[in-house]
């Protein structure tokens, strides 16, 4: 049963299995284990980024396609929900319609970009995605009548998903709409991740790997490479859009900075590389570590600075304002020591 859910793709490392189970348990029980607002925020963000990063891994790690438009698809999903809820009222139907239309729009746009440019060399595809993503970001910030411009959109989500909605108590925890909202994010993310895991272990996934390895030969044994690449791009875009929709439902706000910025694109790239490309499980590890570091490194450094207050130099180094420096350093080190990502390292070290 478990193997079937995982599509026969074992973690293939004891340490990795333990890590994955720990992350799964922590996320599944997050509202009970870490009942703060901030920690639930972090847990939801981890769930969403696992899906987003896994969908990017389908492109980069499995098919060998470099795209810079992944946040654009994420943003399209987010704005889909935002527009649905703004214009059709705060009903579950509007939310669902926005989600599906967002995913559809992302897939259609990916199809257009794919058919237009996947025949050409990889570097041109990367450049075209960069151009389209920049164009969309500019459009969104300029089209303020529809998108709210730089300010973004605030909207109401169905009441059952808000903190104002109360359902009673389980194990000492007040079950509010916020908790329901978290579980919506958690289960949809889990389902999407398992779906992606299935896709990469399907006959289709094998062809993607063959294309990554040797596109020329894949064509020579009878696979229409352009179509496989295009389908992978569309699927990846649609899943990224669904992750964006979850993010919009969770945050109750969308804006260019939170969903479309190039910084998020860089974060996704780092998470894939740190976790391990072409492994899917790398997305889980990469996203978890990265989001935790983003949220808690500053606090941890504050503690370290206080603890070393009496020593020379160290307090300045650990000053919470320098957290980005340390984050950068951590990434340089992790890429240096784990060129195949954490998952690749763990699997090799059996």
């Amino acid at each position: 049963m478990t193997m079937h859910l995982l599509s026969g793709d074992r973690p293939r490392s004891v340490v990795l299995t333990v890590l994955l189970l720990a992350i799964l348990a922590a996320l599944a029980l997050a509202p009970f284990l870490f009942p703060g607002v901030r920690s639930l925020e972090t847990a939801a963000r981890i769930c969403i980024f696992i899906v987003l990063v896994a969908s990017y891994d389908l492109l980069l790690g499995y098919t060998g396609i470099v795209s810079f438009a992944h946040t654009m698809f994420f943003g399209i999903g987010a704005y889909g929900v935002a527009l649905g809820l703004t214009h059709m009222g705060s009903t579950p139907g509007a939310m669902l319609a926005g989600t599906l239309l967002g995913a559809l729009a992302a897939a259609v746009l990916a199809l257009a970009i794919g058919l237009f440019s996947l025949r050409v060399r990889a570097i041109f595809f990367a450049m075209i995605t960069l151009a389209v993503a920049s164009a969309v970001a500019v459009l969104v910030s300029q089209f303020s009548a529809l998108t709210g411009g730089e300010d973004g959109l605030n909207y109401k989500i169905p009441r059952a998903l808000t903190p104002a909605f109360r359902l009673g108590e389980v194990a000492g925890l007040k079950i509010t709409g916020k908790v329901l909202n978290y579980y919506l994010v958690f289960f949809v993310s889990l389902a999407l991740f398992l779906l992606l895991l299935r896709v990469v272990n399907s006959p289709f996934g094998r062809v993607l790997e063959a294309i990554r390895e040797n596109e020329f030969r894949a064509e020579a044994i009878g696979y229409k490479v352009v179509w496989y690449r295009t389908i992978a791009t569309c699927l990846s875009a649609a899943v990224a859009a669904l992750a964006g929709s979850l993010f919009a439902i969770w945050l109750r706000y969308v804006g260019p900075d939170t969903t479309l910025s190039f910084e998020i694109m860089l974060d996704i790239l780092l998470m894939v590389v740190i976790g391990g490309m072409g492994t899917m499980y790398g997305a889980v590890i990469g996203a978890t570590i990265f989001v935790l570091a983003q949220n808690y490194l500053q606090a941890l450094m504050g503690v370290a600075a206080d603890a070393t207050a009496s020593l020379p130099l160290l307090p300045q180094l650990f000053d919470p304002d320098r957290w980005l420096l340390w984050l950068g350093l951590l990434f340089v080190l992790s890429v240096y020591f784990f060129p195949t990502g954490i998952v690749g390292r763990l699997r090799a070290g059996r």
């Binding site: 062809v207 790997e209 040797n214 496989y228």
Partner: protein, 254 residues
Amino acid sequence: MTQTLLETHGLTVRFGGHVAVDAVSCAFRAGELTAIVGPNGAGKTTYFNLISGQIAASAGRVTLLGEDITRKSVAERCRHGLGRAFQLTNLFPSLSVLENVRLVIQAQRHTGFSLLSMAASHTELTVAAMAVLERVRLDRLKDQPVSALSHGNQRKLEVAMLIALDPKVYMFDEPTAGMSVDEAPVVLDLIAELKAERDRTILLVEHKMDVIRSLADRIIVLHNGALAADGPPAQVMASDIVQEAYMGKELTDV
């Protein structure tokens, strides 16, 4: 009368002012093994590339099983019955031996667009792939990544990929290049076996005269891109043009 499987009509390709393949017309019949010879740069591999579709023809046509395939893509030609092994080993290096062959069989059976089934559950693909691997004696290495194989075994796998494709027209480009003396016969025996299945045609680019002598039913000679000779081995090797243009006087010494 035996059936013509593949035919080129005035097939030509120009790169700028240079004519690499010059109006080559030739028919390849079922049950026949044709060796294509000629000095380096004579256009042998380019001729192969034109037939299998890696480069587009400037003029002329290619017909496969009676159908004009001149404008078809590499993948379409492959699906239509054309299989090619490459001169430089051209595999999926980090995938396993079994996976390489399974991918070929999967392409044949059109399961590539199945997104939601598990690859491992398609046991019929695995069984068929294993049968091919046994034939080339690579079955014991099935789980090795291709990059870990010796050069000779990679060449064998290259042949296995072609057998798995089960084409009507086999194209081998120096299949034993770089193989050791004990490894080469395995590949040559396989080619002989394929030849014995009378409904195929085999095209072989080869430099080694002993290989050509033992396998070929017919030799065509390319010289500066043009067809210089075509006929049974004994006749072609004895012809003046081959003596002069290609073999020099070496052949008489052999």
